[in-house]
């Protein structure tokens, strides 16, 4: 899936980096599936 990184600098992202789901509530109806470093 495609998503965006949260919880750090975008420059932290690397190939094969282990990540975990980081749900981000946007509205009462919508929570986006973002990711952060594991």
């Amino acid at each position: 899936m495609i998503s965006t990184y949260t919880g750090g600098s975008p420059d932290d992202v690397t190939f094969d980096m282990k990540v975990v789901l980081a749900p981000e509530k946007i509205t009462d109806e919508v929570t986006l599936p973002r990711f952060r470093k594991a």
Binding site: I2, Y5, T31
Partner: protein, 493 residues
């Protein structure tokens, strides 16, 4: 009628409107200008046209651009269609036009495409338009520009094969050199590798000069049967010997491989029909929306082995007098004559369907946020000089809002799961296939027996790109931000 198009149809005329910045000219004008030139080149009149194929136009989002063009041009074709397969539209129109003639649906097919993305839309709306072509549920909410999806493929190519930013830049430098030899090209000033690398990052690894321009322009060509061309006394018709298409995915996250394109299969089919192969080619015109795409296409079209496209370009084989790796002398590998005018030349981003989607999405957002009164903002709005006939498809106010997913029957469970902190995948009860994204049927077996089960919530970054230029005003405050293509593990653990 044979089962093969080889040599049955010929191009007898081509026309090109002014391209680049053409203010005050609508897509219909640009299309008509190109069509007039194509007919003059063919030596026939407009009354002889009985078939018209066109692409869509962002800036003139007619539901049936081919019909709108015909009306504007003063003809009444008995075969007409408006096509949209993005960057493949131009090549596909060759196939469809040839098939129509081959099958007796038309005798003289005018293929025409035009748009005015540069002056017909504001830069913000043009960018937003391209972004709106992504999936409303699974891509748009993340602010993923079109360039970003292509960038992730190039980035993965760099990871797997050692392709470098300098090699990517060499593509832009070569194409600019080719453009400088072409009258009317949008950009002709020579550039260097350093110019590309210093042109400002758009989305890693792509700099500004790695990306296609946004352009105004129109192009047209005339197709007839080989017999018809002969009867018309055309001295040097260009026969269509082979064509092929392949569509492997719509969403980038379902791309079978980030470093291989559908050109592997489409070229195999085209070569087979023509009876020729890559070593027989003297000239190639390759889709050049981004520099990395060219490198992958050179590989997938068979001009060099997989993974060697970067070196192939850097060693000078992609230009006049170059050689391919099989020691065949190139006369030229001419990419688009209008370097970085991919949109203008291929008109691949012209899309009525996108326009509809934009309005639909904007409508949902506005109604959700501001109530029914906001619908008035969805009218097409004039935003250029008085007299300009171009219209934006959404208002600047709507363009400034981040797009949000609008859960439907297919996706409601997915979004409900996220509200509960779970990433749900669909599991087919009949064949065991596991799929993302959510839909009503199993993509493997067609079963409707699908159950949602939480993924582990753990994944691996397969590729990524850091966005430095936002896809419109809604995401400007967020840059730079990293988008990734990640593999997520099934089940718990």
């Amino acid at each position: 009628m044979s089962g093969n198009l080889r040599g049955d149809v010929a191009v007898i005329g081509i026309g090109l409107s002014p391209v680049g910045k053409v203010p005050g000219r609508s897509p219909l004008w640009l299309a008509a200008d190109a069509a007039k030139k194509a007919l003059a080149d063919a030596g026939i009149g407009k009354r002889e046209i009985d078939g018209v194929l066109s692409s869509h136009a962002f800036a003139s989002p007619f539901h049936r651009f081919s019909v709108a063009f015909s009306e504007y041009f003063g003809i009444e074709p008995t075969f007409s269609n408006t096509l949209q397969v993005s960057g493949a539209t131009a090549a596909t129109m060759f196939n469809i036009g040839a098939a129509a003639i081959h099958g007796g649906l038309a005798k003289v097919v005018l293929v025409v495409a035009a748009d005015s993305l540069l002056t017909g839309l504001t830069p913000e709306l043009a960018l937003r338009s391209l972004t709106e072509s992504r999936d409303q549920q699974y891509e748009m909410p993340f602010g993923i520009p079109v360039a970003n999806t292509f960038a992730m493929t190039a980035h993965r190519h760099m990871k797997e094969f050692g392709t470098t930013p300098k090699q990517l830049a060499e593509v832009a430098v070569t194409q600019r050199r080719h453009a400088s030899r072409t009258a009317g090209a949008q950009q002709t000033t020579p550039i260097t590798v350093d110019d590309v690398l210093n042109s400002g990052m758009v989305t890693t690894p792509y700099h500004k000069l790695d990306c296609s321009l946004i352009s105004d322009g129109g192009a047209a060509f005339v197709l007839v049967s080989a017999e018809h061309a002969k009867a018309l006394g055309i001295e040097a018709p260009v026969y269509i010997l082979g064509g092929g298409e392949c569509y492997s995915h719509e969403h980038i996250f379902l791309m079978p491989s980030l470093t291989a394109t559908g050109a592997v299969e489409s070229s195999r089919r085209a070569y087979a029909m023509a009876g020729y192969g890559p070593t027989d080619m003297d000239v190639a015109g390759i889709y050049d929306c981004f520099t990395g795409t060219v490198i992958m296409m050179l590989e997938d079209l068979g001009f060099c082995p997989k993974g060697e496209g970067g070196r192939f370009v850097a060693d000078g084989h992609m230009t006049y007098g170059g050689k391919n790796t099989l020691e065949h002398p190139w006369r030229a590998v001419v990419l688009r004559p209008f370097r970085n005018a991919g949109v203008a030349v291929s008109f691949s981003r012209s899309d009525r369907a996108i326009a509809r989607r934009m309005r639909r999405a904007a409508g949902r957002e506005s109604r959700a946020r501001a109530g029914p009164q906001s619908r008035c903002r969805l009218r097409h709005q004039r935003h250029h000089d008085p007299g300009d006939e171009e219209y934006a498809m959404i208002s600047p106010e709507d363009a400034a809002r981040k797009p949000l997913p609008a859960p439907d029957a297919d996706t409601a469970s997915f979004w409900r799961g996220l509200r509960e902190g779970r990433l749900l995948l669909q599991h087919c009860a009949d064949c065991g296939h596991v799929q993302y994204y959510q839909q009503a049927i199993c993509r493997a077996c067609g079963s409707e027996s699908l159950v949602h089960r939480p993924a582990s919530g753990r994944g691996i970054v397969h590729s990524f790109s850091v966005v430095h230029r936002a896809p419109g005003p809604a995401f400007k405050a967020d840059v730079p931000y990293a988008c990734s293509w990640s593999n997520w593990k099934k089940g718990r653990g």
